[in-house]
Symmetry: D3
Subunit: 211 residues, 6 copies
């Protein structure tokens, strides 16, 4: 079969595409144009991780929305809770993957790799938490988060009892549901804005390739 | 067929059921136990509409969550926007109906009857906005809200252009999406808590029956 | 942010919409043009409830269809059965809500409020029977009706055994399924005709608002 | 790989299964026990096609239901209509296939082979009307029937206009929808009763195999 | 109702349609143009069953694809396995029916009628294996095959344990999954090519009609 | 609210989980036990990329299946085609992501990063090709692949015409469909076997993190 093995020449992969790194299809203000509190927050974050995540820039277009979103976000993701921060990031990644949200899987996938200190399981959760290498507690958390993410969700007593069998209290159930449902909201806002992941997120929290 | 027409005796309808009016399956604090700012808000609302909506009581169990939720809610539902308050309530009712949320359809259905001043169309939207008697602008708003509510939503340029053909700007699209997606979040929290509608909501905003 | 709190003026809610009260997109005959038996039935109903339901007018366009539909309808809804008339109306409302049928939810929602003598639970069933305040027997009835309404329904022995555990016989299962499936048929005919609810239905069976 | 090609012995196909030919899981009366009108109908049908279709026996258990069902059925399937009887059978087969109804696909598949005089296209419609060899008019009919069969169906003006472009009037649309939706009802009743096809149906209307 | 019984004249059923018996929308080579090994295979098959199945002609357009497909197909369908050949054909028919594949249901339906020696149950499986007259082993096989065919399939330990309770080993599970999933692939290739069943398939394996 | 800000101690993330790196739940032979041709292939691959991909080990349990699978796989992925190898890997990643296949997204995600030379767009395709930065040709390819992956796929003339407008021939359509559908098959086999990605895949083809 010599003809078959003759290599054809193909165009370069994805020729002509350009990586879109716009924060939002609706545009974003320059830092200098932002209200002081928002600009400060952006600058502090850049000092810490090296860049301003596009979600900050996108929401900064409407400062009141920026403030309400970030305040709720920080309460859910950084406030006191029976769930660790890494567990909460795992919920975000699992829900955002189910909702096909490019920005949130990319940005929170990076956060999960860093906070969870297990890049492989973070990548697994980004693909399919059901077949990821999860301990029973984390499996119970993500299983409930997936239920919450379903349209028409209404919890049954049995579901809450099952969470308790893994040591997860009513407040933990609240936090799982609140994180899962808030990111269902956030995923849709990212989908509205065509929010693009900052290029830095793809490599964050990955060990250098060792071959 | 005389036997057939013999009336049988049946038990009273829904015999033994009790109307559950608990704010939340997780319980709710008494007003006296609430932080001052939250108790004040509850009392002001009761002064205005005659009762404290169960969503206030349910969230009051966790004051920080109460505050973050209400602040965002009020920004979206009462803040400045190109959408009228009645239009925003219509989005909430349509999305909550799609998500089968008993509390939100009931409570915001009442709000829509009052703010929209058309109880019949409010009831239609609570059943199926697609066959409701809608003007083109409201149809475009609810059609986009329904899209946002779909899992995996990502807006296309074409959808945004269509909104513009009805005079709806990018900021209006943002507001439609934010209200729709925030209530997807809220619906799921109500489903978590088994939040029950206050009995007063069912009749609010209905003209007295005139026959 | 004073600008933000400046109230905007919005157009009146749903401006330009007109309430469509046509019985059917295919038109309907005047009473005078109807065959005697059908006209008589329409007039008797009007004498009883004050108006002729649009389903009568819509089907009257094709008298043979009117007769076959009404005869089957009355057998199922008013004939002898182990299910009370209110229970049968509850099935109709739950199935019609699942099928998003504006006419049937509105008209039979009114019937359920009247026959069931519990306007709140009737409204709950119209929104989501799963989270309604139902006694176990009614929950079992509506749960089976929802199964019947699914495409590809085929009952299992186990489902019928479960109905029996609530005192529901094979004939009761037949009646639940027949009512549920007949209204799946009726919902689709209403969807074909764009059948509009008579305006009177919205308020029927509701207690006057007492605030 | 000689081991691999060693034939294994397997049990006979479907060993131990018995062909269930019961009309209904709820039982069926003997002809002698039936009311006169129903027994006569059964006997006439047996005289014509050689056996009593199980749908007759299953419904005969409840004579009033038998009468209402058959009267409506005959109006829809044999009454005056712009659709030929074969076209109506094609709707039944396509809808029943979509609803996975063993009894109706088998019994009406036989009827379609006989009335349509094209056993191959009848078999194609029983598998997938979308890829069957259909003339444009029949494709338009089955396409609309499939839409009617979807949950939540509500016709659009555009769909009715498209039917008209194939010469199908409003009354034809009514008949397509009525046949499709009535058999959605009938499919579910067959699924309730576990109605089994009479063995004779499988071969009816097939040319003898000629090889 | 004499007018109603007046027969209308309708056009002949499916008037103007032509039975398309092309192997593939992409065309197929004549036997004389095929490579020797493929032509020989086609001729041998024709000698055995009287015609060349269209799947041979369709794949012959690309000989390397023909060879890879047929080699895998024959391993799965005729190679050593704990499943009988009829059981494997039953899997193909059940999966192809779920995937609405006209070619595969028709061609493999014929094979199942012949190999299984029970034309009625073969037809039942082609309509809905769930309501077919199946022995427990065959039901377990087709139930697992249906699971494999679902998008996102990942087997659970429990599912494999259930297969074992029917005497089905890990290798049997492999074979069920491989046949089911390979035909999911094959169904899609047939859908790509608009592969048409040879007319002979419809009657193959059917007893001559005896009335 | 000082109590709220008191940090809790949480258990380490995913505590107690172990990374499962078994090739298959059915086990896999040691290289020494494999037939010569298969062992040689495994050793050659190890020499090239540093490890034996688990898909080789999993299929090696049944050598005939190994050979048939690999032969077809290599024809589709490395054989002559109008699609470049990177484009084919992009199809595999997009389809495997839609099918939630952990092994295939991980292994072929690595291949796509290497062959496509654009790790960011490879990661985007693994999350959601619809919102990835794609040139029109690659978008057309993945769009058609997604269609092929749907249950019940049957191509329309219009879809093939659209491919042609991007310079994609009938043979290209064949190759897109064959790759997409073959990996639908492969995804299901991986789901059957609980095939685990080799740990090396996660980092392959990623630039070292530079911060």
């Amino acid at each position: 079969m010599p003809a078959a093995s003759t290599p054809r020449t193909h165009p370069p992969f994805n020729e002509g595409a350009v990586q879109n790194t716009e924060a939002s299809r609706f545009g974003a203000p320059a830092l200098a144009e932002m209200p002081d509190d928002i600009r400060t927050l952006c600058e502090e974050t850049r000092a810490k991780i090296g860049f301003v995540p596009n979600v900050f820039l996108a929401y900064a277009k409407r400062p009141e929305h920026f403030r309400a979103f970030m305040q709720y976000h920080d309460l859910l993701m950084k406030g006191p809770s029976g769930l660790s921060r890494a567990e909460r990031e795992a919920i975000v990644v699992a829900v955002s993957a189910a909702n096909d949200c490019l920005y949130c899987v990319t940005a929170h996938g990076a956060a999960l790799r860093i906070l969870g200190k297990d890049a492989a399981v973070a990548d697994q959760i980004a693909i399919n938490w059901r077949t990821a290498d999860l301990a029973p507690r984390l499996r119970a958390i993500l299983s409930f988060a997936a239920r919450v993410n379903e349209p028409g969700f209404a919890a049954t007593d049995r579901e809450l009892a099952e969470l308790k069998s893994f040591g997860l209290s009513d407040d933990d159930a609240w936090d799982i549901a609140a994180v899962a449902a808030f990111f269902g909201f956030s995923n849709r806002m990212a989908g509205l804005m065509d929010m693009r992941p900052n290029p830095q997120f793809y490599a964050l929290g990955r060990p250098a390739e060792d071959r």
